[in-house]
């Protein structure tokens, strides 16, 4: 039996519960987003566009876009590969590896950034070595990318692995007996099977990369016009009392996030139509 609000609460109680739910949604989610837009537009479109178009802001957008693109590609390739290994292969330490995948979910992003600083900083094991070979990781693009990869590590793996597990290996075996080579099986059977999951994983990765603040703050050094990403720019502008700039860049970030949510919903609709499954 399904227990509904009707069974538990009286008429008034139901109305109260409904109001409370709406209020919660409004206060926690809708109001902050709406208010930001209102405040931002209070500066007038001209000011906003000028702030968005300033060289520092544009550089921040470009850097964030670049880091996101790298994170998406790397995660798509290695996340899928890791999911295949975790699901299909049996090796000692597999359970431990499987559990470690989730660590970035639980670890604070600032702590993740700190790990990177410790490892790649001037006194770090890898940092000292790389510095002597002329490769700059900390306070440069590689550091930002590594920190972003750390915090986005689980998304693709966690979306793809259950789909792979559920699909089993029979279709791939059927393809083998039909004469397909391993690469043909990967591209024509395995990848199409996981394409939706991979898409969701990539979208989540992109969303997290675009918004990552804590981990990037520590490794980037927040150098204006060099290692300052869009979220860092918002923080900087806010602390510098340049509210117009902070709002302007924020609405761009929110607009991108909303666009991704729309894409996700469209994907779900299409998938529902094609596969007739509820998602």
């Amino acid at each position: 039996m399904i227990v509904t609000a009707r069974d538990i609460l009286g008429r008034r109680g139901r109305a109260a519960a409904a109001s409370a739910t709406y209020l919660y949604f409004l206060v926690v989610l809708a109001l902050p987003i709406g208010w930001l837009f209102l405040e931002a537009f209070g500066f007038g479109p001209g000011t906003l566009l000028a702030k968005i178009g300033s060289p520092e802001a544009l550089h921040a957008f470009r850097l964030t876009g670049l880091v996101t693109a790298i994170a998406v590609v790397v995660n798509a390739v290695f996340g899928t590969a890791l999911a295949i290994v975790l699901v299909r292969h049996r090796f000692p330490g597999r359970a431990l590896a499987n559990a470690l995948v989730d660590v970035p979910f639980a670890v604070s992003a600032v702590v993740a950034g700190l790990m990177m600083v410790l490892l790649y900083g001037p006194d770090g094991v890898l940092g000292a070595f790389l510095d002597s070979s002329g490769v700059r990781v900390l306070f440069a693009l590689p550091g930002i990318v590594l920190a972003t990869l750390f915090v986005t590590f689980p998304f693709v793996v966690r979306e793809v692995a259950p789909v792979l597990r559920q699909a089993g290996t029979e279709a791939e075996e059927a393809a083998r007996t039909l004469g397909a080579r391993p690469m043909t099986i990967l591209f024509r059977i395995t990848l199409p099977t996981i394409r939706w999951a991979l898409g969701y994983g990539v979208l989540l990765t992109a969303a997290r990369s675009l918004g990552e603040f804590g981990a990037v703050l520590l490794v980037s050094g927040n150098i204006l016009g060099r290692t300052q990403t869009a979220p860092l720019y918002v923080y900087q502008a806010y602390t510098d009392f340049d509210l117009a700039a902070a709002y302007a860049v924020s609405i761009v970030l929110i607009a991108v996030a909303l666009a991704m949510v729309v894409v996700l919903e469209i994907w779900k609709l299409r998938r529902r139509r094609i596969e007739r499954v509820r998602v």
């Binding site: 029979e170 075996e173 393809a175 007996t177 199409p192 094609i274």
Partner: protein, 368 residues
């Protein structure tokens, strides 16, 4: 093409699943690997197809040894129990896959796929996706896909295991017909003895990783090589008895003993329900009585309880039940018209010490 396996062995993490299995399938035959679940049948099939490597032993297709040849080069068609269709491809794309990956001309692939769609009776469904088909239709697609590249041999792993009972019967007859049409040497795995006996030219009984018997359906039915086969294909009554003065004494009944058994030897008798006759008997206190009568369709299942023993199951025609006025609670006497006797100590897999030629013995009243 002829299939032969020699001395196949395979273990999974130390557990032997296939133990020294050898058999051959003649060109054009339809052969069943029959046995209980977990007996190693599917593993044997997967080794023949190349999906699994044997630990030792040989697989021959035609005149060549193939056990080290990759699956994709063996020219084997494989049909899976759960179809294993490619969900993102239409019926037509599924069926043409084998030729497409071998880089055949697209027009030729399309023509051959169309031919296969017609062969399996799926006209007009070529553009459907697998999730839009019924279980029976999916299995036909799986078969068409396996047959499309004209394989040398066709292997089917529990091909009807996932469809419901009614469709299973239809598909079974249809597979036999299709096999006769196409003529490709085929092996199918099943745990359903009825299925195996009905459509196979030959049946190989596999149990616990070994071949228990290899023969025609009639041989398997009439002359089971050992007690395991007899029990597996007969699903019948089992009695313990001892040889006394040329008869086997079952305690409640004596039946003629086969030749060559020694006085005092302990035997196990297996008797199919259709070979047990039930008639009204004297109302003695310890007489067998009818405990249950169940309707099976063409026959009636009569369960007879004998005080202090396992119940005996008989299957008799409804007319016999009526003629003899049999009802629950009635005292009866039993006759065994045919049975098989096996040495008692060697019940599991050893050959029978003797098998009675099938004949009919009617007890003349003194049985009970």
């Amino acid at each position: 093409m002829r299939i032969e396996v020699r001395n196949l062995c395979k273990a999974f993490s130390g557990v032997a699943v296939v133990r020294d299995v050898s058999f051959a399938v003649a060109e054009g035959q339809l052969v069943a690997l029959l046995g209980p679940s977990g007996g190693g049948k599917s593993t044997i099939l997967r080794i023949v197809s190349g999906l699994e490597d044997p630990d030792s032993g040989e697989v021959w297709l035609g005149g060549s040894r193939v056990d080290r040849v990759p699956a994709r080069e063996r020219g084997v068609g494989f049909v899976f129990q759960h179809y294993a269709l490619f969900p993102h491809m239409t019926v037509r794309e599924n069926i043409g896959f084998g030729l497409r990956v071998r880089k055949h001309d697209p027009a030729a692939v399309a023509a051959r796929a169309e031919e296969m769609i017609r062969l399996v009776g799926l006209h007009g469904l070529g553009e459907r996706y697998p999730h839009e088909l019924s279980g029976g239709q999916r299995q036909r697609v799986a078969l068409a896909r396996a047959l499309c590249p004209a394989p040398k041999v066709l292997l089917l792993d529990e091909p009807f295991g996932a469809v419901d009972a009614k469709i299973r019967g239809e598909l079974r007859a249809w597979l036999r017909k299709l096999h006769d049409e196409v003529g490709v040497t085929s092996v199918f795995v099943t745990h359903d003895q009825e299925e195996a006996l009905e459509i196979a030219d030959r049946v190989v009984i596999v149990h616990d990783g070994r071949v228990e018997q290899d023969g025609s359906p009639e041989e398997i039915w009439r002359a089971p090589a050992n007690a395991f086969v007899a029990e597996f294909v007969g699903a019948g009554n089992r009695f313990a008895g001892q040889v006394r003065q040329g008869k086997i004494d079952l305690g409640f009944l004596s039946v003629p003993a086969p030749e060559g058994v020694a006085e005092g030897e302990n035997l196990v008798l297996l008797c199919r329900p259709t070979e047990v006759f039930v008639d009204a008997g004297p109302a003695l206190p310890d007489a067998p009585r009818i405990a249950r009568i169940a309707f099976l369709g063409t026959t009636m299942k009569v369960e007879v309880e004998i005080p202090g023993r396992d119940a005996v199951v008989a299957e008799i025609p409804p007319s016999a039940l009526r003629d003899k006025n049999l009802a629950v609670g009635m005292p009866v006497r039993l006759c065994l018209s045919a049975y098989q006797a096996f040495g008692r100590d060697s019940l599991a897999t050893q050959p029978a010490t003797s098998v009675t030629p099938v004949g009919t013995w009617f007890m003349d009243g003194g049985g009970i």
